[in-house]
């Protein structure tokens, strides 16, 4: 349990470094530290499926970021400049709403069960029926592709839509103006 908190502190520090550092390559490396910490936390709470997905997606994201940085620029010129008046107004507004959100979250946190003691009304049925009902030895595959396959179809549709969106946004045809 204590190692989860250590990783959490490490992730917060790495995320702050990623937003504040001037060298973009160092910022990408800090972002990778956050992502791989998430993967290690998934392994610590015994979720290897999620850990594998997190690792490969993180590697792919970092590769794309590094490829873009090598082709454009290393230096983030917006960091270290003085804030304009409108910026200060938006920061104050954001802080106010963030405070409201945090108060609401703290009140809501009293309602949910403690860490590691989920109520599991539906999930216990999935665990009981997984191997006899769906036949797969990997319970996660049973859940996402048999019991909740419609959710997976929606997820696949999201990816399909995003690919179409990227292809439509940055195609070279029709960009002559």
């Amino acid at each position: 349990m204590i190692e989860l908190y250590l990783f959490l502190v490490f992730m917060i520090v790495a995320a702050i470094i990623a937003t504040e550092i001037k060298d973009l390559l160092a910022a990408v490396i800090s972002l990778g530290a956050v992502g791989f910490s998430v993967a290690i936390m998934f392994i610590l709470v015994q979720a290897p499926d999620l850990a594998i997905v997190q690792i490969v997606v993180e590697v792919l994201t970092i590769v794309i970021f590094v490829a873009v940085i090598f082709r454009t620029t290393h230096i983030d010129e917006t960091i270290g400049k003085k804030l304009a008046g409108s910026h200060i107004f938006s920061i104050v507004t954001f802080s106010f709403f963030a405070l409201l959100f945090i108060i609401a979250i703290i009140n809501a946190l009293h309602e949910i069960p403690a860490f590691g003691n989920a109520t599991m009304r539906v999930a216990s049925e999935y665990i009981r029926l997984g191997l006899p009902g769906a036949g797969g030895a990997n319970l996660v595959a049973d859940v996402i592709l048999d019991f909740r396959a419609l959710d997976t179809l929606g997820e696949a549709t999201v990816l399909f839509t995003s690919v179409i969106g990227v292809a439509a946004l940055i195609r070279s045809v029709g960009r002559t103006k």
Partner: protein
Amino acid sequence: MKGMSLIVRTITTVMIGFIFVYGIYIILHGHLTPGGGFAGGVIVAGAFILRILAFGSEPGGEKKSEIRASIFESVGALLFIGIALAGMVVAGTFFLNFLPKGIAFNLYSAGIIPFCNIAIGIKVGAGLFSIFLALAAVKYVVKD
């Protein structure tokens, strides 16, 4: 897009086959071990992306590969929906696991789950690769 140095290209030549086979393994064993169609598809896409980054591609080559990847992505999506509709044809339920379950822990078990994993693997791998190609093929046209 330009390629990388001789060291990177040599290492890529050695490693790319293993990465590709590992991605296929993760997809095919998705119902037995951790992993599945999504993770394996991303690994397969990573093998293709590594090849493009290390060896580069001839001008205009990204466009052709992107069209091919889009075709594969659509085939994966249609395969997934086709499996779902096949359940509807057999017994009237969307996403029914209509194939025999087989013996647990065998490669040929769990009915439609391995086929769904293969479809998702094709879809995710081709989709992420075509996103990468679309990003790599952007022409930086600066007008002033």
